[in-house]
């Protein structure tokens, strides 16, 4: 089951990524990236991290990509002249070649012969929300609080950048 999820999710992630790089219109690039993130969620599920798998869909596919699509549609209008008139064929090729080199260079090991699997003994409840939350609000509390500052700064920055300049209070 884990092996199946790995190959399925890995294929989705890689294919989505390559197609994203190769696609000409930003909208289809975003849709391919959604596929890639779904594959990554499947990989998280295979790695016994259900909480992260769900958050990956919620944050990336549900929020970040929607923001992307939203901005794309606001910026470019119904006509998308993205990189028209440039040579197109080398874009997918350029994206594929390094990936292919890596896979070929390591093909000796990829089928799994002789490579160790994951250790079978995990602590009970590994990756469940409770355990992650205990770490997050215990050992890593400082980082958790600091990340909230990052988010607040991002909100303020986005508002300041996005709003009409004349309406800003300091102008």
């Amino acid at each position: 089951m884990e092996g199946f999820l790995f190959y399925l999710g890995g294929a989705m992630m890689l294919l989505g990524g390559v197609a994203m790089v190769a696609s000409r219109s930003a909208v289809s690039a975003a849709c391919w990236l959604v596929l890639s993130f779904l594959g990554s969620a499947a990989l998280f599920a295979a790695l016994q991290a259900p909480f992260l798998a769900v958050l990956q869909i919620l944050v990336y596919a549900g929020a970040i990509m929607v923001l992307f699509l939203f901005v794309i549609m606001m910026l470019e209008g119904p006509v998308m002249p993205a990189e028209a008139g440039r040579p197109k064929f080398w874009i997918p090729a350029g994206a594929l070649v390094p990936a292919a080199i890596i896979l070929v260079a390591t093909a000796r090991w990829v089928p799994g012969a002789g490579l160790p699997g994951f250790p079978g003994d995990l602590p009970p409840g590994f990756g469940q929300p409770v355990r992650v939350a205990q770490l997050l609000l215990g050992e890593y509390l400082l980082a958790f609080e600091l990340i909230s500052i990052v988010l607040v700064v991002a909100i303020i920055g986005a508002l300041a950048l996005g709003s009409n300049e004349r309406t800003l209070p300091w102008k």
Binding site: S28, L58, G62, M74
Partner: protein
């Protein structure tokens, strides 16, 4: 042991007179039962959407003083079948300038996002496809996939109205996800688990054990969730994405035939899902008054199946009632403007829902469960709930009475009374 294995074992024992543990075909019977269950879950929305769409149109007709569909079958009950067949037979149009792959894929993505939610809905005591430990988060995540599908549909159609509809619906869904998630966070705080079955198990069968009547903040959180969920489902008064008077039909304007039907199914599935979430998170879900879940789990044989069916029925009744509330709201309230929509969310619902989370936390710390203060609080909230129901019932009754008097004045005879006038 879940209900599917249970039914399979019962069938093997009673029909084939074999021992399920050693019989070689146990897996086959289980597979067939699982297949039937999956088909029922899959067909559930289709079967549910049809009659309810007819009922909605009849109610709409009644509210708008017209008749509504009444030609196909007695009183038009078969209208939904006729509509379905019509959509099957229609040509599957793809606009010439459309972004073809996106246009074709969008309805299925929307559909998948909606149907993925059915995996964790707790239909009965043991009737749930997968009791995930992250159930509520999974619900939020899988339904947020729908936004991507709507944006794809809006973009792929290459039509101004569709694009407007898609962008509007994306803005709306992303915004209203915040208050709905916060309201569900209140539930998670009280239940101490994200699992949907765990949330139901943390409540009880009687109204005073439900989360909605636990304290005033939960009471408010229920209405906040319901409002936000209606907005997420693109229903009136928040149906800006498909506002007919402004942008014709929104993101699905270029679709025809089955693809259009998929969007409609997704909309109905969404209504059902939001009603089901409200029912299991706030209204006690499938809990049967007077019998604990452990007692149900301890029963054997057909008695077990009977209790399951009863819990299922209770859940269905609660959820269907909420679906009707949604329908009534749709035909009662006028549509908001876009700026009003955003103001409602960000200036009122989001701060209010944060306040509810804070209040629930404070009460969780101050009022121990099962103590005297807790009992008083629950009693007061049940009283408040009864008062709300009573006042709205009286209000509806007054409307009907006035309506009947007007009718008698104008027509000189009595209105065909309760409550939906038949022509």
């Amino acid at each position: 042991m879940n209900i599917i294995q249970h039914v399979a074992n019962l069938l093997i024992r009673s029909v084939f007179h074999a021992d399920p543990a050693s019989w070689p075909w146990t897996w086959l019977v289980q597979a067939v039962v699982i297949g039937i269950a999956a088909f029922l879950a899959f067909a559930f929305v289709a079967i549910f959407a049809g009659p309810v769409s007819w009922i909605e149109r009849r109610i709409a007709g009644r509210i708008q003083s017209r008749i509504g569909p009444n030609r196909v079958g007695p009183q038009g009950v078969l209208q939904w079948l006729a509509d379905g067949v019509k959509c099957w037979l229609k040509e599957d149009l793809v606009p010439a300038a459309a972004d073809r792959p996106l246009f074709l894929a969008a309805p299925y993505l929307v559909f998948t996002g909606m149907f993925g939610a059915f995996v964790v809905l707790p239909f009965g005591a043991q009737v749930v496809a997968a009791d995930l430990n992250v159930g509520i988060l999974y619900l939020l995540a899988i339904t947020s996939l729908v936004v991507v599908g709507l944006l794809m549909a809006g973009w792929g159609s290459n039509s101004k109205w569709a694009l407007f509809g898609g962008v509007r619906s994306a803005a709306q869904l992303v915004s209203y996800e915040v208050p709905s998630a916060f309201s569900l966070l209140c539930v998670v705080l009280l239940a101490g688990t994200l699992s949907t079955q765990g949330i139901v198990a943390a409540q009880g069968g009687w109204p005073w054990d439900w989360f909605i009547f636990r304290n005033p903040f939960m009471f408010a959180a229920f209405f906040l969730y319901f409002t936000a969920a209606i907005a997420e489902g693109n229903r009136t008064p928040f149906d800006l994405p498909e506002a007919e008077s402004e942008i014709v039909a929104g993101y699905n304007i270029e679709y025809s035939g089955m693809r259009f039907l998929f969007f409609l199914f997704a909309e109905w599935a969404n209504i059902w899902i939001m009603a089901a979430i409200s029912a299991f998170a706030f209204l006690g879900g499938w809990q049967i008054p007077g019998i604990a879940p452990e007692q149900i789990a301890a029963t054997k044989g057909w008695e077990f199946v009977g209790w399951q069916a009863l819990s299922w029925t209770i859940f269905l009744v609660k959820a269907t009632f909420l679906v009707f509330v949604v329908i009534q709201i749709r035909w009662t309230l006028p549509r908001l403007r876009v700026d009003q929509l955003m103001i409602t969310c960000w200036k009122y619902l989001v701060p209010l829902s944060m306040l509810m989370v804070l209040g629930v936390l404070v009460l969780l710390a101050l009022v121990p469960e099962g103590g005297g203060a807790d009992t008083i609080l629950r009693g007061a909230m049940v009283g408040l709930g009864l008062a709300v129901v009573l006042v709205s019932a009286l209000r509806v009754r007054r409307t009907f009475r006035v309506d009947r008097e007007h009718y008698r004045e104008m027509e000189g005879r009595d209105l065909w009374y309760p409550p939906y006038r038949l022509p």
